[in-house]
Amino acid sequence: MRPYARLGLLVVAAIVGGCATALDESETAAKTAAALKASFRPAGQAGLDRLEQDETQRACSLAAGKAPPKDVAAMIEQTNLATIRYPADGKLLGDWKNGERIAQEGRGKQFSDDPKGPVGANCYACHQLSKGELSFGTIGPSLYQYGKLRGNSVDVQRYTFGKIYNSEAFTACTNMPRFGHKGILSEQQIKDVAALLLDPASPVNQ
C-alpha cells in the first residue's frame, strides 16, 4: 500500500475508534466541509484547490493543536521523508546572500500577491536568524548561530536542506511550512537559505 493511503486509514481509525462522540464528531466534520465549500471563492492565484487537504494536513487538523498519536506522527514523518528530493549534483549549499533575501521576503502565494512577483520564505516571520535583523518572530526557535553550534558536516547539511524542503519529515504537525514539497521555494532557493544557516561567512554565524 502507498504510504499516503496507509496514513489515511490510520486517521480514519483514529476517528472511528474514538468513543460515543464519534457520531457527533463525524457530523461536525461533514458540516465543516460543507461550510468550507460554500464560503470561499477563487481569487488571484488562490483557487479552491487550496482547501483540499492532503493526508498530513487532515491528520494535523484532527490533532487540533495537540501532538498527534504516536503511530500517526510516525506515519506522517515517514510519508513526508519519502518526498524529499536531494539535489542531483550533490551540492546542498548555495549563496547565503541570496538566502538572506529569500528569508526576508514575505510576499508570495497570497491572493493579493502578483503571481509573477517574488515568492519568499519569510523565515524571519517565525525565527531569529542574523543578529542584525531585530524584526523577527518567535513561532519557531532562534536559529542565530545555527551553523556555528552544529558545524557544517554533510549530515548537518542534509538535515538542514531536508528540513527546509519538508519540515514534516522531522516533526509531525510542526507549524513550519513545507517549502520544497509544496512548491513554495525552488531547489536553488532552498540551497541558498541552507547556506544562510550554515555558511561560516553568513551573518547568522557571526
Binding site: 465543516t32 464560503s39 487550496r50 482547501l51 497570497q110 518572530g137 513561532i139
Partner: protein, 268 residues
C-alpha cells in the same frame, strides 16, 4: 464637539504614519492610543452609521429602526454583545453584518446582492455603508458584557464548526488560524499574536473589533479581520456573510463571554 475632536485627531493621524513606520512596537502603539483616547476617528463612522440607520432608504423607503438584532425590533443597545445568534425568521445563525443585510432586504427592499455589494471601504473615497452601520450598532454595546447565547442547536453547531475551522490546515503553507494564534506570547516579526484558544486571549481580541486602523485610514469590522487573516493564511477569498465567517465569529465571540465589549477601538 465629537466630530470636531475626531477631525483634530485625523489631522494628527495624517502626520503620524512615518512616525509609526519607524518603530511600531507595542509601546508606541499604546502611547499613540492614549493620545487619541478621546478622539478616535471611528466616531465619524459611528455618526454616519447612526444617520444611515435612521434614514428612510431603499425601494421601500423605510429606515432600519424596526430591524430586530436579536433583542426585539429596534433595540440596538446591547445587541452586539449577544451576537452571533440564531434567528427564527431566517432559520439561521447570523452575525451582525449578515443581520444588517437581512434587514436591508426584508425591511428596505434591497436585493441581497445590492445590500452586500460593498462590505469593505477602500480607505479613501469608496465608503462602505455596512461598515458605518456596524460601527454604530457595535458602539451601542460599549461597556456591555459579552453574553453570546448557545441555547439553540444551530448555535451549538456553529460553535463546533467554528472550532473545527480554527484548526483546519490547508493551502500552500499548511496554515490554520491555530498556527499563529494558539500560543501565549508569540509574535510574527514584531506583531504580537493573541492566543485565541484561551478565554483571556479571545476576550482581549474580540472585544476590540471593529477598529479604526491607523495604517489603513479605515474602520474595519470583524468580518474584515477574518477575511484578511485568511488572505495571510494563503486561502482563497472568504465570502462575506458566509457560513465559515459566521461559525468562526461564533467560536471567538462565545469564547469572549464575560468580558465588557470595548469597541470601536483604534489599532495600528
Amino acid at each position: 464637539m465629537k466630530a470636531v475632536r475626531a477631525a483634530v485627531a485625523l489631522v494628527a493621524l495624517a502626520i503620524a504614519p512615518s512616525l509609526l513606520a519607524q518603530g511600531s512596537t507595542a509601546d508606541e502603539i499604546a502611547k499613540y492610543r492614549a493620545a487619541l483616547q478621546d478622539g478616535n476617528p471611528a466616531e465619524l463612522w459611528e455618526g454616519r452609521g447612526e444617520a444611515l440607520w435612521k434614514q428612510q432608504r431603499g425601494p421601500k423607503n423605510v429606515s432600519l429602526e424596526r430591524c430586530d438584532l436579536g433583542l426585539g425590533a429596534g433595540v440596538v443597545k446591547g445587541a452586539y454583545a449577544q451576537l452571533p445568534r440564531y434567528f427564527a425568521d431566517a432559520d439561521r445563525v447570523m452575525d451582525l453584518e449578515t443581520r444588517l443585510v437581512w434587514c436591508m432586504v426584508t425591511l428596505q427592499g434591497y436585493t441581497e446582492a445590492d445590500a452586500k455589494k460593498n462590505p469593505f471601504g477602500n480607505g479613501n473615497d469608496r465608503k462602505s455603508d455596512l461598515e458605518a452601520l456596524t460601527a454604530y450598532v457595535t458602539s451601542e454595546s460599549r461597556g456591555v458584557k459579552m453574553n453570546v447565547p448557545m441555547r439553540h442547536a444551530k448555535e451549538a453547531e456553529a460553535y463546533r464548526v467554528g472550532e473545527k475551522l480554527f484548526y483546519f490546515r490547508g493551502g500552500t503553507h499548511d496554515f490554520a488560524c491555530a498556527t499563529c494564534h494558539s500560543e501565549e506570547g508569540k509574535r510574527i516579526r514584531l506583531q504580537d499574536l493573541p492566543d485565541l484558544t484561551t478565554a483571556q486571549g479571545a476576550q482581549k481580541a474580540y472585544t476590540t473589533w471593529p477598529a479604526y486602523r491607523v495604517s489603513q485610514g479605515e474602520l474595519r469590522t470583524f468580518e474584515w479581520r477574518l477575511y484578511d487573516c485568511f488572505r495571510q493564511q494563503r486561502f482563497p477569498e472568504l465570502v462575506f456573510g458566509s457560513d465559515a465567517a459566521i461559525a468562526l465569529t461564533m467560536f471567538l465571540a462565545r469564547n469572549a463571554n464575560g468580558a465588557p465589549f470595548d469597541a470601536p477601538a483604534i489599532k495600528r
